[in-house]
Amino acid sequence: MIWPNDMVVHLMTLKAISQKAIFLILACWLLSLPAFAISPGEAFDDDKLEARARALSMELRCMVCQNQSIDDSDAPLAADLRRLLREQIKAGKSDDEILDFIEDRYGEFALLKPRFDIKNAPLWALPFLLVIIGIFFMRSFFRNAPKIKQD
């Protein structure tokens, strides 16, 4: 197990008797994020490129954290990914190319926004389908109800 913060592991042995689900979930989630993500010197000087890098970092998962983007995480692996990302931007690749590159390397797990593909179709379609179904039901409800008298 790779941990962003070896303290977590240390803690585990130390507090072995108090391993209770909720607070450890909370603890490891929180301990993996003591404040610092991007460190000084990482950023591009060019504001436009930097904005792109930040936007992309927010879409990539820190692989060793709890549901955290590499933009928010200070895990070494997240820093590596940020560096990788910036190298790719510097090499002139487009956002899509970079996401593809990272997906090839780390798998779809690295993308916080799942791809639009057949496997994820329910994820993307269901919310809107539900609204349509709901409105359809609503219409039939109104249709079956007796009409209110026009005054």
Binding site: F23, L24, F36, M138, K149
Partner: protein
């Protein structure tokens, strides 16, 4: 001895719950008055017993009695008094006891205040509450007993996670639980109605106040939790779409839908089956949230966070309660709601808007649920591992919720039964024009022509102005002479403020969300004393750092002086704390707060380059961010106001 009395009280409460869950239900079914009459005293007795158990546990935490395993594992004698107290619910077992205590409190509340309810209905509601009580007491006693003793007590406990040693986190769980557990009453009312096979016209009227109470507690609980995450985690975010947060957001969305559908049911005596289904599902989501957070299913990557026994137990509870309720619903709902069909309905009406509201809120709830469990499903089918994070929710939620927000000011202004479109449009025209202008201004003025921010500002203004239009309609602004207006405002019944505050509050909250997400600025720098950084009109000087010591921690404290227009206006002292007992560090942000925005400073590690030691500093400016929580507070106040609606008023509303 006292410890054992607490434990014993809990076991007794379990026995009482067993009685409460069987005899009154049997009595109500067979019309045996003696059994029906048992419900009220049983509910009260259960509450008293659990209050005793909870009080005992609290005393033990305050006394730091390390012969209790729970106290040893989660407390420390050197902890400040307040955190020894709140440490009671700063752990799984204690928080479960609080959960159950609140469940019993709601039951006792019905027993005490539900005087106008028919005895049989009350017996059924309390009976169902008893069933929930039995299941959760069994869960607590058999899998997570807070009163377990240690054979050889240690001299000192291992302390409480420092990030939980915080005033906001002290009140966050009780508020959240008051919300979760409060929805149990809506559930019990639904199951009671399904059991009896008939539904009283006043049914929704009895459900709604308890649902309001649950909703406003949950609203406050989520707001406090979000505020805590904002200042304590040290990176300035306020909502992370984390599974644990989603676990509280789903019941909130469903509960909001329930509040609105119960309004239709109370007022128009229809839509019963949907309201009942929603009540069952809302409470199901509350239990599912409890399950998701405690079982470790969602964090299966963490080997140590899983506790399969507890997870399976809660899953069984969920299966029994929700499965049973849904089965009952499938069997009985059609017969119960046959009366619904005789109510005339017109789509362009207040109820039409409320039902459309339910379509969107239910879809939004399902979306959060889908996003939370979809990775598990994909994984279970062997289709790989995917992540569903904030970018997904942002992409789906905005188009899903925007129509709902557009609808929000229209609903309260339309009439029940049948509404004409033109007067509503006329009333809202000015608000609409202003909101569009506001959005366009943002679009034109911002450097990158931020479409999202423009939409957000427009929607926020639409909601706030819509709430004002709602108010002006309620005080008959256009026909009242100016001099009479203050009197009218004061005389406006409190309950009328409900929708104004709740809807307007959401507008205020959206303003805050847009402000900080669209216009936040940030400086990250490694600095030595004397360094000056500029951010959003503030000049921040790093003066140096000192070591300080708190009651149970030591800290490195950075000192920053803040200047604005050459004038020194404040000094901020963010800390990096080290809690000596728990051997954990936390970052304490220092925040200069005002309504226009927050200047937010945190310090991180030292870095050494070319032999010079410098401190990594991160500074944010979060414009308008305070409005997020101010908005939440206003929404909750709306709930309080709506709660003042008396039963009598609802009946008279219905007849006029």
């Amino acid at each position: 001895m006292i410890t054992e009395s607490g434990h014993f009280a809990m076991i007794l409460a379990f026995c009482v719950a067993l009685l409460q869950s069987t005899l009154p239900l049997y009595g109500a079914q067979r019309e045996r008055q003696a059994f029906i009459d048992m419900a009220v005293p049983a509910a009260k007795l259960q509450f008293i017993l659990l209050l005793w158990a909870f009080a005992v546990l609290t005393v033990k935490f305050v006394q730091s009695d390390f012969s209790l395993w729970l106290v040893t594992a989660n407390s420390h004698a050197d902890k400040p008094f307040i955190y020894r107290l709140t440490g009671v619910w700063g752990n799984h077992e204690g928080s479960m006891l609080l959960w159950i205590l609140m469940l019993a409190a709601y039951g006792a509340g019905i027993a005490q205040f539900g005087k106008s309810m028919p005895a049989a209905l009350k017996a059924r509601v309390l009976g169902v509450q008893g069933i929930i009580g039995v299941l959760f007491l069994a869960f607590s006693l058999f899998t997570s007993n807070p009163f377990s003793r240690l054979i050889s007590p240690p001299f000192e406990g291992s302390g409480l996670n420092p990030i939980l040693q915080d005033p906001a986190l002290a009140v966050h769980p009780p508020l959240l639980y008051a919300g979760y557990v409060g929805f149990s009453l809506a559930f019990s009312f639904s199951v009671a109605a399904l059991m009896s096979g008939k539904i009283s016209p006043d049914w929704a009227k009895w459900v709604r106040p308890w649902t309001l109470l649950a909703w406003l507690s949950l609203t406050l609980g989520i707001a406090v939790g979000s505020f805590w995450a904002y200042y304590e985690l040290g990176w300035g975010g306020f909502w992370f779409w984390d599974p644990v947060e989603n676990a509280s957001f789903m019941p909130w969305l469903a509960g909001t839908a329930l509040l609105h559908s119960a309004l239709v049911t109370a007022r128009r005596n229809t839509l019963h089956s949907w309201t009942m289904l929603l009540a069952i599902l809302t409470f199901a989501l509350c239990i599912a949230g409890t399950f998701l957070v405690r079982s470790g299913v969602l964090t299966s990557v963490h080997a140590f966070a899983t506790d399969p026994t507890r997870g399976v137990f809660i899953l069984m509870v969920l299966g029994v309660l929700v499965g049973g309720a849904l089965l009952l619903f499938a069997m009985r709902a059609a017969g119960l709601s046959s009366a619904d069909k005789n109510v005339p309905f017109h789509p362009v009406s207040r109820e039409g808007a409320l039902i459309l509201n339910n379509v969107f809120l239910a879809s939004a709830t399902a979306t959060v649920f889908l996003g939370t469990i979809y990775p598990l499903v994909i994984d279970a089918f062997g289709l790989g591992k995917i992540s569903v994070g904030a970018p997904y929710y942002n992409a789906v939620f905005v188009p899903l919720i925007t129509p709902l927000l557009l609808l929000m000011p229209i609903g309260p202004l339309s009439n029940w039964g049948r509404s004409d479109v033109s007067p509503v449009i006329k009333k809202l025209a000015a608000a609409g024009v202003l909101a569009i202008l506001g959005g366009l201004t943002v679009l034109v003025m911002t450097s990158e022509h931020q479409g999202g921010a423009a939409l957000g500002v427009g929607l926020s203004m639409w909601l706030m102005l819509g709430a004002l239009v709602d108010l002006s309609k309620k005080i008959r602004f256009d026909t009242t002479p100016l001099a009479q207006l203050p009197k009218k405002l004061i005389k406006l019944p409190l309950q009328q403020w409900g929708s104004i505050l709740a809807h307007g509050g959401l507008g205020v909250m959206i303003l805050g969300i847009i402000g900080t997400t669209a216009w936040r600025s940030e400086v990250v720098q490694a600095v030595t004393p004397g360094a000056e950084m500029d951010i959003s009109g503030y000049a921040v000087t790093f003066e140096g750092e000192t070591s300080v010591a708190g009651e149970n921690y030591t800290a490195e404290q950075g000192v920053f002086s803040i200047k604005r227009g050459g004038q020194k206006i404040a000094e901020l002292k963010p800390e990096k704390r080290f809690y000596t007992v728990e051997r954990q560090s936390t970052t304490e942000a220092a925040i200069l707060k005002n309504l226009a925005g927050h200047l937010y400073i945190v310090i991180a590690d030292e870095t050494v380059s070319d032999g010079v030691v410098s401190r990594v500093v991160r500074i944010w400016y979060h414009p308008l961010v305070a409005f997020i929580w101010i908005g939440g507070l206003i929404m909750a106040l709306g709930g309080v106001a709506a709660l003042t609606r008396r039963e009598a008023q609802l009946i008279s509303d219905k007849t006029n």
